[in-house]
Every structure is written in C-alpha cells, then in structure tokens.
C-alpha cells in the first residue's frame, strides 16, 4: 500500500505539472485549453528528433522543444483565441479542440501513431524508498514542477507583466481601460502555458509510452486535477494532481475489476465537485 501511495504521488506530479499549464490559461482567458496536451506533445517530438536523431546537445534540444511549444501556444492565441474574443467560452473551447485535432493529425502523419523510443533527460540508477525504485527523471519532474510554481509566483507577484496579467484575469475590459494591452498579455500567457506544456511533455515522454497520443491521455487526469484545485489556482492544481495520483495508486491496488479505476476516479471527482463546487483548494495562487 505504501508503495502504491508513493508511486501515486510521483504519478500525481505528472498530472499536476500538466494541470499547472491548464490553469495558467484558464486564469486569464477563462477557457479550458483542450490543445494543451498536443501543444506539449509536438514540443516533445521536436526535442526527441533533435536530441536522439540529430545528436543536438541536450540543453539545446530541450530549449528547441520548449520554444516550439511556446510558439504553438502563441499561434493558437493569434489564430483561434483572438478572433473569438467576446464569443461564448464554449465556442472558444471547441476552437481549441480543433487545434488539438489538427496537431494530433500532424503528429500522426509526421511521426506515426506508433510508440517510439524516449530516453530520459537524466539517467541513473535512482534510489529505493520503501521498496519502490524512484528514477532520477521522476525527481527531476518534481523539482521542475516546484520550480515552475515558484517562477510563476515570481512572475505573477513581482513583475509588471504579472500585475497586468492579474488585472486582465480580474477584469479584462477594465484592464484595457487603464492601459493594459490585453492582447499582449493574452499572447504572453499562451506562450508561458505552451512552454510549460512543452517542458512537461519532454519530462513525461520517458515515463509513459511515448506516442502521438501520450499527452492526450494524460490530459483527462490533468483536467480533473485542475478542477480539484479550483481551476484558478496553480498550487491547487498541482496539489489536485498529487491527490488524484495517490487515489489512483490506492484504487488500482485495491480494486482490479475492469474499469474500476476509471469509474471510481470519475465518481470521486464528481463527488468532490458536488460537495465543494469550487474545488478542494480555495487558494488564490
């Protein structure tokens, strides 16, 4: 049981890391970006291509992967989100579904739908805790997630961009009236979220089966994690991810009936939302 919980916690770090990116977009635009996973996935494929197939140094390949995802975030904002400003949120969300579908089609045609080799960005023997071998890449993912949370806090509360971002999140029309260039803030937000998606995908690609679909599948859990965290709180989303991962660990260990894990997690999320419609965590950040 302890191993399941521990393993679940590391699994939850993955869900939480992806959920952070979702919340970053949601805070400013009030929409769920269904293309978040695919934006990251493309970055991970670019990284793998450059690092493994073209022998580019690791740091450069990681940078290129993140840059591509950030760029895709910006393009999505420019092509889909901006023209749909003022439209019902559902319309905008379906727009992101279109982007998600487009990127998936591209990845399948460019890289094949089949799994491909993914080497962890950091290798080593790892260390054992309570009978579970923790791999270096899992620790790195945790460190990166915490670093992203800290960086976001810095940007949000200690920079002028953060001030503009918070103002836009609070009331975009009022922010525009006092001189905030809402369009730029929105684009910056999508770039940050895209970069987080790319970095998440690069780290996660070696921890799951790496194929064009790997982020799409994790997105459902990340969405649930973001909701459990109240959708507007990045720390809440991260905590929600860890809660969900640990719940999955315990349920997966205890209940082996077909569909039991998926069904019980779905019921758990629904139950939490019914009891606490604003999520488990009521944090501002």
């Amino acid at each position: 049981m302890e191993i399941s919980l521990l393993n679940g916690a590391f699994l939850g770090v993955i869900y939480g890391l992806i959920a952070i990116g979702l919340v970053v977009v949601y805070r400013v635009t009030r929409i769920i970006n269904f293309a978040h996973g695919e934006i990251g996935m493309i970055g991970a494929f670019v990284f793998a291509d450059l690092w493994l197939d073209h022998d580019l140094p690791l740091v450069l390949a990681v940078g290129a992967g993140i840059a591509v995802s950030a760029l895709l975030g910006v393009i999505t904002e420019f092509v889909v989100i901006r023209p749909l400003r003022g439209q019902p949120r559902l319309t905008v969300m379906v727009g992101t579904l279109g982007v998600s579908s487009l990127l998936l089609v591209y990845a399948v045609r460019r890289y094949s739908p089949r799994p491909r080799f993914a080497r962890p960005v950091i290798e080593g023997n790892g260390f054992e805790i309570a009978g579970l071998l923790v791999r270096p890449v899992q620790i790195l993912t945790l460190v990166v997630a915490l670093a992203i949370l800290a960086l976001l806090a810095l940007v949000m509360f200690k920079s002028s961009f953060g001030l503009r971002l918070r103002a836009t999140a609070l009331d975009s029309e009022a922010a525009a009236e006092v001189g905030v260039r809402v369009g730029r803030v929105s684009m910056g937000t999508w770039a940050i979220a895209g970069a987080i998606a790319g970095l998440s995908a690069i780290l996660v690609s070696s921890q799951v089966v790496f194929s064009a679909f790997f982020m799409s599948r994790l997105m459902l859990r990340a969405l649930a994690a973001a909701l459990l965290g109240g959708l507007t709180s990045v720390t809440g989303a991260f905590a929600g991810g860890i809660f969900l991962g640990m719940a999955e660990g315990v349920i997966g260990f205890q209940w082996i009936a077909p569909g039991a894990v998926e069904a019980s997690l779905a019921v758990l999320v629904m139950a939490v939302l019914i009891v606490r419609p604003k999520g488990l965590v009521a944090a501002e950040y």
Binding site: I3, S4, N7, G8, L11, I14, Y15, L104, V105, V108, R109, S112, P113, R114, P115, R116, F117, G126, E128, G131, L132, L133, V134, R135, Q207, V208, V209, F210, S211, A212, F213, F214, R217, L218, R221, E248, G249, V250, I251, G252, F253, I256, A257, P258, G259, A260, V261, E262
Partner: protein, 426 residues
C-alpha cells in the same frame, strides 16, 4: 389545389413507401433470416449457374461470374484504411500486398488472369464494417480478404457470411467463427490463440511457476486473455492474479505490486504498447523480476520503441519473424517492385495474405465460379509459405490454421526472433 389533397398526397406517398418497403421484403426474408443486404450474392449466382466449367460443352453462353473477366479477377481487401492509423495500414498494405500483387501479375497472374485488388475501408467501427460488407457485395469482386481489425472486420465478415459471399478473414472470436458458413478464417480464432498460448506457456513452465495475467480493458484483449486463463488453469498452471488495466494508463505499478505480493514469476500480458511500460514499471519494484509472455504485443514496433525492456519475453505470432530467409526474400521482392516503404513484420504478414489469396484463386480453377471458390478453398491442405503457419481448410472446417510461430525477444535489431517452426502442439 386545396390544402387537403396536398396533405393526402404526401401522406399517401409516405405510407405507401413504408408499407411497400416492409411488404416487399417478405420475399427475401424467406431465404434470409437476417437483415443482411439483399444485393446480388455469389450464393444466388451459384444456384443459377452451378457448373460454369461445363459451359463450353453446351451451346449456351457461360454465365459470367461476378469479379471475373477473361483477363482479370477482382478481389476486395478490407481494412481500416482511414482514421489516425489509416496511413500505417496503407503503408503496410502497399509494401506487403502490393509487392505480392506486382509479383503475381508479373508471373502472369493467376490462371492467366491479372489480379486486381480493390481497397475497402471499414473505418474501424462495426457500422463501418457493415458499410464495407455492402461495398464488397456491390463493387464487382469475386471474393474478399479481410486483413485487419477486430470488431469491424468481424461485423463485415459476418455480414458477408449472411449474404453467402465466400471470403477470407484473418481471425474473429469463437461466437462468429463457429456460426459461419462462408467466411473462412486464416488463423485460429481469438480464443483459440489464447488457448494455444496457454499450452505454449504450460509446456515451458517450471513446476512452481506462478502466473499473473494483465488484461487490457478492451474486448478483444479480454477475449484472448480469458481464453488463456481458462486453458492455463485447465493445464494445471497456477494463475494467481488477473488484473485489468486501461488503454494508455500512466502507471501500472499498483497492479504490479499486487503481482509481486502474490509471488508471480511469469506475467502474461494481453496488451500492445502498454507492454513497454508494464515491463519498465516492474523494474521499479524491489525484488520483482518476472518473465514475460502474452499476446498482441509481439510486434517489432513495440520492442523497437523500448530496446532491451522486453528482452527474454516469449510468445506466439501469427506470422514468421523478420530474421527468417522468407523475410529476406520478401525484402528483395519489395525492393524489386519499389514497395519498400514499410519493410516490417506486418508488411511481411500482408505479403503472406497475398500468397494464401493466390493459392485460393489458383485452386478456384481456370473457370472460377462461386462453387469452385468454395471447393478451391476447401481443397487447400498443408499450404506452407514460411510466412504464415501451414493452412488447411476442409469441408466444414473453416479455420485455416491451428498453429502459430513461437517467438522470443529480441534480435540484434530489437525485433522478435524465431524460436522454432509454426506449431499447434506445445
């Protein structure tokens, strides 16, 4: 015109159409108990012209057989040619079946006729399978070969079977295979493959072997896996744990911990890509180093995506591995006909489909008819290509092969390697 006549007229047309449609079907329902399409079928043709071969001796002109001309013979190939995996299937088809097609036609065709293949898409859904069946029945094909898919291809083959249209289908589950009269399977049924694997594992098991089974929560995987469990248990194997996992699950550690606690020594996996992660996750559990076997993950694209992870795993394959001389010959042929875009085990399998199709068409005779197709298929005995297991059909025996190829992971190119000839007796 006043209002009433308009309403009456439209109502009358609608009612007449409904009644005519329902009544008009009474005739066909006498001969056919299901809702299969009522397009012209081979069965009805065969009753009209039972012996086309005798035609030259009479003064009557021979009744033409659907899909057969003096120069060509047309066959439908049914697979999931569209969707996200469509391009992969297309690539395999081009490298595998088109290599055979080019080759057979370069050799003068079959019985002097050029072979023409028509691709028919089942869209990876059951209703897509029915649409594919209707297309096969109406596109002027002599026969069809269904080479890929589970539910969709079973639906298509069942629909063709209802229509009495003789066809070859790679495999299906027992509930269909046991009910068919016109759909001939090439390989053992899905449950048959699970049982055969259980025999294979039992034959190689140590007395204190404890087996844990991982089933992907998708019908075809559970069908094969459950058949494995039933036969393994009957064989006296100790199956101590059976867990079900999900498609794309991010971690299998919770399920593997159960296995470790149950003392599992061999994990039998009925999954595909997930096999990579199951074997990887198992390495993180201290003291857990099981052997691996199972079904549906013995693809080269799985092992090549995770070099070393599945080393030592064993299993059974429906087609030969890429380390065989037959594969080398296929490679050379594909290069000759410039069909080398996808040269893997699956393209090799599709090439094998071409070879068995060629034999079926050859056995159907120089004057192919619906009847000669059936007698041709049922006349095939011990047809060995080295690509597929030896195939024998007979009257009332619609399952072509009851054997499979033992295989082990992995060769120096991280592909599955041969571990003996195809067999049904382990």
């Amino acid at each position: 015109m006043s209002r009433r006549p308009i309403r009456k007229l439209i109502g009358l047309v609608a009612v007449l159409a409904l009644v005519a449609a329902a009544c008009g079907d009474d005739d066909s329902s006498d001969t056919q108990a299901t809702t299969a399409p009522t397009a012209t079928t081979q069965a009805s043709e065969s009753t009209a012209a039972p012996e086309t071969t005798a035609a030259p001796e009479t003064t009557q002109a021979p009744v033409p057989t659907e899909g057969v001309t003096d120069d060509t013979i047309t066959v439908s190939v049914v697979a999931g040619f569209t969707g996200l995996f469509g391009e992969v299937i297309e690539g395999i088809y081009v490298s595998g079946m088109e290599t055979w097609l080019e080759d057979v036609n370069a050799r003068g065709g079959v019985n002097g006729r050029e072979v023409v293949l028509k691709k028919v898409d089942h869209q990876e859904t059951a209703e897509g399978g029915i649409a594919a069946c209707q297309e096969v029945l109406s596109n002027g094909s002599y026969t069809a070969i269904l080479v890929q898919g589970t539910g969709p291809q079973a639906a298509a083959a069942d629909c063709l079977d209802d229509a009495g249209f003789t066809n070859l289908v790679w495999t299906a589950d027992d509930s269909f295979v046991n009910s068919w009269g016109s759909s001939y399977t090439i390989f053992p049924s899905e449950e048959g493959q699970g049982a055969l694997l259980a025999d294979f594992v039992s034959a190689n098991a140590s007395p204190d072997e404890k087996v844990g089974v991982v089933l992907l929560n998708v019908p075809v995987y559970t069908r094969i896996g459950n058949a494995f469990v039933d036969r393994a248990t009957a064989n006296g194997l100790d199956v101590v744990e059976t867990v079900t996992v999900e498609f794309g699950q991010a971690s299998f550690t919770p399920q593997l911990i159960r296995m470790e606690e149950a003392g599992v020594t061999t994990v039998a996996m009925f999954v595909t890509n997930e096999a990579i992660q199951i074997a990887t996750d198992a390495t993180t559990i201290a003291g857990f180093a099981p052997d691996y076997t199972g079904a549906l993950f013995e693809f080269d694209f799985v092992t090549q995506a995770a070099p070393g992870v599945l080393d030592g795993a064993t299993g059974l394959r429906i087609s030969a591995t890429v380390d065989t001389p037959e594969f080398a010959a296929f490679q050379a042929l594909a290069a000759q006909y410039e069909r080398s875009s996808v040269l893997d085990g699956e393209a090799f399998l599709y090439y094998g489909y071409g070879l068995i199709l060629e034999e079926v068409l050859r056995q159907a005779g120089e004057n192919p008819t619906a009847d000669s197709l059936i007698s041709g298929i049922e006349g095939i005995s011990g047809f060995a290509t080295g690509v597929l297991p030896p195939i024998t059909w007979g009257s009332g025996d619609l399952v072509g092969s009851d054997g499979m190829f033992p295989t082990v992971c992995c060769s120096d190119i991280n592909a599955w390697a041969a571990d003996g000839p195809a067999s049904s007796d382990f």
